[in-house]
């Protein structure tokens, strides 16, 4: 085993080797408990002496809290305590969500419960603690709060105008962040272009709707001075640091445990004031406090996202070559930037990603991020990507239309060549290796374009309007410290894995990345079984506990497989090497002449079985006296991994959508959808395919149904699942997924992220399909969601 491991000599993506699991569609180890109802989500945990929190939430978008009278609430049977912002400020420090590398960014201090003013409808203001959740809610209903309603700043378009309501007067204005990226000479390119087309795009405010609501049990033990949080989170180590800092504790005094997490999509990677309040209350009361958001609370207090307005122009020459993109993005993020990732990242991503798949010389993109009195926004699945892809691909289709060019042809002429890498994009993103043309060709092999065009033509004659839309995209995965750490946030870009062999020859892996349904534990099991040389069933995976797993970032921004997977592979290989040193001593053989296959130490040359790992473990752990005294005996290895050469591992792909628009009702039906994506090495095709499909459905949901709608006073109107519509099975089509594999050379594993590709491209592909359908009717839509009303307005019917 002295040879340096390479993807070839460790058999990656080979299914013909007995111990080769990387690249195979094998089931996840945690599925049986999920299908049998035996999982353990945070709300399933009950602790001795546990009490329950409920929150009074602001009924106003902006109001002064004049007086809180809790006498009646405290008289409710079962109610134990009431906490206001002033109560919690004594034990919990406020936070400010800015990142140093986002130049000029500003935001205001945020307390777990506000001290003087509520700044969005739904902001938690007073906490009631009771013996049961029902009693706590009774207590909330009995609270008497006197409010002084204040004018609210709702419209992001006027947030910087003279006369705007200053949400935090100390900041001077409502500007959080602005950035312009420029390359080349956009004005000259526009002036010299054969065609310039422009449009304004809107992406509707969405939220994640994890089916399991945000949940936490915080338990402060006064005897040993420790806080243990059972938390439905994507980033347990980050939350460990946050709880410690805000509650004035050492990080070592805080333990965060996340067992099964019922969906995340970025929603559960942020610091929520109600959750910090619960931790602070647990510290005051010295007992476990549980809070599980109900669905109304989820809609008003889970982060929202995607509330952008973009004005875009594209310039092309007579051959369809893209000369320039010029984009102006505006987004409203609510009254606070969300800690600690900040709410400027989505806009910043738009600047980084517009035009991403294409080779062009002139670029200008500005994002302006402003405050408003609505629910705070922050990073949600595919942060900024569906926005950038919608404006980019919408403009490319408009240019093709202006030129009379086929949408496939204009993409073929402009996508970055597959042999052009490494490549730096106009806003400065560095691509190690992408496969736009290979992906396009693969997509065209899957989509029966000629048949579809013939059907489209035939249907139009019958008054049925169908359209085919395409969207190429890039996706940012495997983030380095350039994403957050550089700006001062204690968010780990590095991740670790500890792999050990126990006496019976079974293997345990402890990982800093986490599982929220993506299949993290499944792929870690495959990687470690492959790397050590044991059967899948002999590997147990442990994640989601800051006390036992190596420090790491958790699972977000498509880093679980690429970062956590590589750490697991490296530690598994190190363990194998160590096992072979021990085996060599026992068998009087050179370690490099041995191998491990399916739990057996074998002669590498002949495959002859020499010793099962269980026997090796028995001798090592229980009869170590029979082994050489100086033999290294550590059958446990830890490795960490961080990307080094590139700030991000970009992936790419292309989607196609075939949709029908009912010109009478405005209803859109997605008939079929395709996606080809390149996430580098595919560890488990079964998992990747359904991840991509789930992402596409979430993207289609945002483009068709999902919308956080506010009234003129800043009240959120969509606060139940009957009002905020997410896709159901009957509305969604069968989705075809294909892959191109361009492994990253940053790691041995070669994996990049796959979880956000579907969401990144689906809305744009659908928009282009709708506009292809509407073209003979002279209508066009660019404002999501594409509801029946939106379509009928475009058709001039309402």
């Amino acid at each position: 085993m002295n040879e340096i491991p390479t993807p070839e000599n460790i058999g990656l993506s080979r299914e013909d080797l007995p111990n080769s699991y990387i690249g195979r569609s094998v089931p996840r180890p945690n599925l049986p408990k999920l299908v049998q109802g035996l999982a353990s989500y945070t709300d399933d945990v009950t602790l001795p002496r546990m009490v329950h929190a409920a929150f009074l939430r602001s009924p106003h978008a902006h109001a002064r809290i004049v007086k809180v009278d809790s006498a009646a609430a405290l008289a409710v049977p079962g109610v134990l305590r009431v906490f206001t912002g002033a109560d919690l400020a004594k034990v919990c420090d406020p936070w400010v969500a800015t990142l140093d590398h986002l130049k000029g960014m500003k935001s205001a201090p945020q307390h777990p419960l506000p001290l003087e003013r509520a700044t969005w409808q739904g902001e938690p203001v007073v906490a009631v603690i009771a013996e049961s959740r029902a009693a706590a809610e009774d207590g909330v209903a009995a609270l008497a709060v006197e409010w002084e309603p204040l004018p609210a700043q709702l419209d992001m378009e006027t947030a910087l105008a003279p006369g705007a309501v200053l949400i935090h007067p100390a900041l001077g204005d409502n500007l959080v962040f602005t950035r312009t990226a420029t390359k080349g000479d956009v004005e000259a390119a526009m002036a010299a272009a054969h065609k310039v087309v422009e449009a304004t795009f809107v992406t509707g405010r969405h939220t994640g709707v994890t089916l399991e609501p945000r949940s936490i049990i915080a338990d402060y033990n006064r005897a040993d001075g420790t806080l243990t949080a059972h938390h439905s989170t994507q980033a347990p180590h980050m939350m460990q640091g946050v709880f410690a800092k805000q509650l004035r504790m050492e990080e070592g005094q805080v333990r965060v445990i996340c067992k099964d997490v019922g969906g995340s999509f970025g929603i559960k990677v942020h610091v929520y004031p109600d959750e910090v309040a619960v931790a602070a209350i647990a510290k005051v009361m010295g007992r476990p406090v549980k809070f599980v958001a109900d669905r109304f609370e989820s809609f008003v207090s889970d982060i929202h996202a995607r509330d952008h307005r973009l004005k875009g122009r594209i310039a092309v020459d007579a051959e369809g070559k893209i000369l320039a993109f010029d984009i102006d993005d505006l987004t409203g993020i609510g009254p606070y930037s969300v800690y600690p990732r900040t709410s400027a990242v989505e806009g910043n991503q738009v600047v980084n990603l517009c035009g991403g798949p294409y080779d062009f010389a002139n670029y200008r993109c500005t994002t302006t991020v402003v405050l408003q009195n609505k629910t705070p926004t922050c990073q949600y699945r595919a942060v900024g990507h569906p926005i950038a892809t919608a404006v980019t691909e919408g403009l490319v289709d408009l240019a093709a239309e202006a030129l009379g060019m086929d949408p496939i042809e204009i993409r073929r002429r402009n996508l970055i060549r597959d042999d052009a890498y490494p490549y730096t994009s106009p806003p400065g993103m560095r691509f190690e290796g992408l496969s736009h043309h290979a992906a396009l060709e693969k997509l065209l092999a899957m989509v029966p374009v000629a048949k579809i065009r013939a059907d489209q033509e035939a249907q139009r004659k019958k008054g049925v309007y169908r359209g085919l839309g395409f969207a190429s995209f890039i996706e940012l995965t495997n983030p380095s410290p350039f994403m957050y750490g550089l700006g001062g946030a204690r968010i780990s870009a590095q991740d670790g894995a500890t792999v050990r062999m126990d006496p019976d020859g079974s293997v345990v892996v402890l990982s800093g990345v986490t599982e929220q349904g993506q299949g993290t534990e499944g792929i870690l099991r495959q990687i470690v079984a492959h790397g050590v040389g044991v059967a899948l069933e002999r590997v147990k995976v442990v994640t989601g506990d800051t006390q036992t797993t190596p420090y790491g970032g958790g699972t977000w921004a498509c880093r679980g497989a690429g970062i956590g997977g590589e750490a697991a592979l490296q530690s598994a290989i190190a363990l194998k090497q160590q096992i072979l040193v021990v085996a060599g001593a026992m068998l009087q053989a050179a370690p490099e002449s041995l191998d491990i296959v399916l739990g057996q130490v074998v002669d590498k040359a002949t495959g002859r079985e020499r010793m099962p790992l269980g026997e090796l473990g028995r001798i090592l752990y229980f009869r170590g006296d029979t082994l050489p005294k100086d033999l290294p005996r550590e059958l446990v290895q830890t490795r960490h991994f961080i990307t080094k050469e590139y700030p991000f591992a970009f992936t790419n792909g292309i989607q196609a959508c075939w949709a029908e628009v009912d010109a009478e009702t405005g209803l859109v039906t997605v008939l079929e959808h395709w996606c080809v994506e390149d996430c580098g090495r595919v560890i488990n095709p079964l998992l990747v395919d359904e991840q991509v499909r789930g992402g596409i459905v979430q993207g289609l949901g945002g483009a068709l149904y999902e919308h956080c709608v506010y009234d003129g006073q800043g009240n959120l109107l969509t606060t139940t699942m009957a009002d905020y519509l997410v896709p159901m099975s009957a509305e969604m089509p069968d989705i075809h997924v294909g892959h191109v594999e361009t492994p990253t050379r940053e790691s041995l594993l070669g994996a990049k992220g796959a979880g956000e590709a579907g969401t990144a491209g689906a809305p744009a592909a659908l928009m282009n399909a709708i506009n292809d359908a509407l073209r003979p009717l002279g209508a066009r839509v660019t404002e999501q969601p594409f509801t029946p009303a939106c379509i009928l307005q475009a058709l001039g019917k309402i």
Partner: protein, 157 residues
């Protein structure tokens, strides 16, 4: 809320007697009073289907049924359905096809799919999609779930 209602019913084949508040929903009764945490409260408005359980022979929303109304009823949850082996093949198909991601919707989805297996054996993919439209899944994209149900129906034919 001092008034309470005495109920006796069978849950997963076992006789259960409890005194419940009139406002106690079935999902809270199962989770909080009986410790049956396999059924989940997702929306509490009867929309998402995560709390789907069987009462007598019909699937219902556990968040829309009051426990006080269930004196004498026969309730089956995911725990009881699993124990009986009635849908072992369906559950195996869910595992094989990765028809669950985070798993929060899955017990309700399996209860709804079990209803297809009992009452709609001729369902095609479109009918399966229609029948499961009362059960939201935010992770999978539904296709693997439809595949798993279709495969189980086919193997039972």
């Amino acid at each position: 809320m001092s008034q309470r209602v005495e109920i006796t019913l069978r849950v997963n084949g076992e006789r259960v007697s409890r005194s419940v508040e009139p406002r106690r929903h079935l999902i809270d009764f199962l989770r909080l009073d009986l410790g049956l945490t396999g059924s989940h409260a997702g929306c509490e408005h009867g929309v998402c289907g995560a709390c789907t359980v069987r009462v007598d022979d019909e699937i219902v929303r556990g968040c829309l049924v009051l426990a006080a109304s269930l004196d004498g009823a026969e309730v089956t949850t995911i725990e009881g359905l699993t124990e009986s082996g009635e849908v072992a093949d369906l559950q195996a198909a869910f595992v094989a096809r990765n028809a669950a991601q985070c798993g929060f919707c899955t017990p309700g989805m399996v209860m709804a799919a079990a209803d297809i297996l009992r009452h709609h054996q001729d369902a095609d993919r479109t009918a399966i999609r229609e029948h499961l439209s009362g059960n939201y899944c935010r992770c999978t994209g539904y296709q693997a779930i439809v595949d798993a149900v279709a495969e189980t129906l086919e193997s039972r034919r």
